[in-house]
Amino acid sequence: MLKDLFFPVTGAATDDAAIEIAASIASAYDARLVATVPAPAYAPLATPWGVTPDSVALAEMLDLVESDARKRMESLRARFRDLEPACEIRMDPDHFFAPARSLARQARYADVSVIACPSGTDGETAHAYFRALLFESGRPVLVVPTTPVPATRFSKMLVAWKPTRETTRAVHDAVALFSPVSAEVMAIDPDISVFEHGAEPGADIATHLARHRIRTQVTTRASGGASIAQVLLAHAKETRADLIVAGGYGHARLREWILGGATRDLFEGLDVPVLFSH
């Protein structure tokens, strides 16, 4: 059951479009949206010539950062005034840590976090938030496109199935949050050995989903030259799925693997929200 959504205000240009989608999802589920603006400041650093910046400069910087954050908070409050109290805008005065990690801690008090799909010049910021939320919050992350989405109440989900603990978590999180009506379990290039998918890729998880009274269908595909992400996105479009569910970054891989791979590829040309869990 979706009750609380968390939206970190990253400062990226995509914030405005994404928070709009987050607010519509919240209202579709009768949930509350909490958006938090970070007010990060630099910690003083010990260097051979003393501590920089000095306390006077530091105080000035803190003031500046806080007033910026406050301005941003006020403008969001004005924009979402009609939605109160279902929409709450907060500030996170975090003086010592990276804002992404600090906000990931706030995300623990919500059911799911929503962020914009990383793209363009703000891509790196969005990636930093995505990583922090995925790895540190203990909650799933919903990545939304910045273009209008097909639906804000998710009834038809497409599961990018791999027999990993991340994907398992993602599927169970999606079921608990959105109670979808139907699910298509898609195995792309499945390895059918005993300790991977097994002889019938997707059959076991489909049986389990059916126990949750979800109409379930299994599809196996060979990617044949296209990337996994391209196959998924094309299939989502064809079948009019309104949510993709995927495990974020397999645990055996280093975080640096983020520089490539299926999770990151999914962000290119994303036009359907994707729920990731780790």
Binding site: M1, K3, D4, R105, S137, G138, R139, R165, D204, H208
Partner: protein, 276 residues
């Protein structure tokens, strides 16, 4: 909502008692109980004189499978009279790690149930606990041998501001739809990295948003262990289930040799739901 419950047959002497508890939970929630007997399949091992001979392996394999099938038949006979929906199956595992291999099957269930580590079977139970906690991607319920399981309507949350504890409480809400949560914070450290000014207040607000009856208690352990405090509080409040994050992520698995998770695991007299 709890629909599929997974029970790995570990071969420990506690299996029967634990199975009986898992069965009661399945009945209470109208869930299906999946009982999995591991058949540890030997693999060809490179030895100085080449690979171990095929015929010998085949013989061992046959023996292992026969044994597993016999155990599965016994369990089917036992479950035949059960009110619960059930399925008893034999799952092939690699020779040395039945716990890790069974976690693959646990992914297709909502929750796994294992016995509290105790006595001579403690190390086997620990191996299962760790494998399921870290690898299955699903929460693990650890049950003492002598509890009478009920529905889990009143939860005791051992709250720490960690991702594991956040996962655990959300998993518990999704599985059991409880009515009441008692949030217990022991030895709260107030600060940026730890709790805020009011330890437990944020998670309590989030729980209350869902219409749950919530109460927050802060305690300091003094000379007692955290596990002791939790045990006392559980008894005082009459909680049905303890919910806790299992092993903070910064710790090495070897830390398993000590610490609050292990204390909780071994000393409690009520079921515990752990997530990682």
């Amino acid at each position: 909502m709890l629909k599929d419950l997974f029970f790995p047959v570990t071969g420990a002497s506690t299996d029967d008692a634990t199975l009986a508890i898992a069965e009661q939970i399945a009945i209470a929630y109208r869930a299906r109980l999946i009982v999995s007997v591991p058949a540890a399949v030997p693999t060809a091992v490179a030895a100085p004189w080449g690979f171990a001979p095929g015929p010998v392996l085949a013989q061992v394999l046959e023996e292992v499978e026969r044994h597993a099938k016999r155990r599965a038949e016994e369990l089917r006979a036992r479950m035949a009279k059960s009110e619960a929906a059930w399925d008893v199956r034999v799952d092939r595992t690699r020779l040395f790690d039945p716990p890790e291999a069974l976690t693959l099957q646990a992914r297709y269930a909502d929750l796994s149930v294992i016995a509290q580590p105790r006595g001579k079977d403690a190390s086997a139970a620990h191996a299962y606990f760790e494998a399921f906690l870290f690898e299955s991607g699903r929460p693990v319920m650890v049950v003492p041998a002598d509890v009478a399981p009920r529905r889990f309507d009143k939860l005791l949350l051992a709250w720490k501001p960690t991702r594991e504890a956040a996962r655990a409480i959300h998993d518990a809400l999704a599985l059991f739809a409880p009515r009441e949560v008692e949030v217990l914070v022991v030895d709260a450290e107030i600060g940026d990295l730890a709790h805020g000014d009011e330890p437990g207040a944020d998670i309590a607000a989030h729980l209350a948003e869902r219409g749950l009856k919530v109460n927050v208690t802060r305690r300091s352990s003094g000379t007692a262990s955290v596990a002791t405090m939790v045990r006392l509080h559980a008894a005082e409040t009459g909680a049905d289930l303890l919910v806790a994050g299992g092993y903070g992520h910064a710790r090495l698995r070897e830390w398993v040799l000590g610490g609050a998770t292990r204390d909780l695991l071994e000393s409690l007299d009520l079921p515990v739901l752990f997530s990682h």
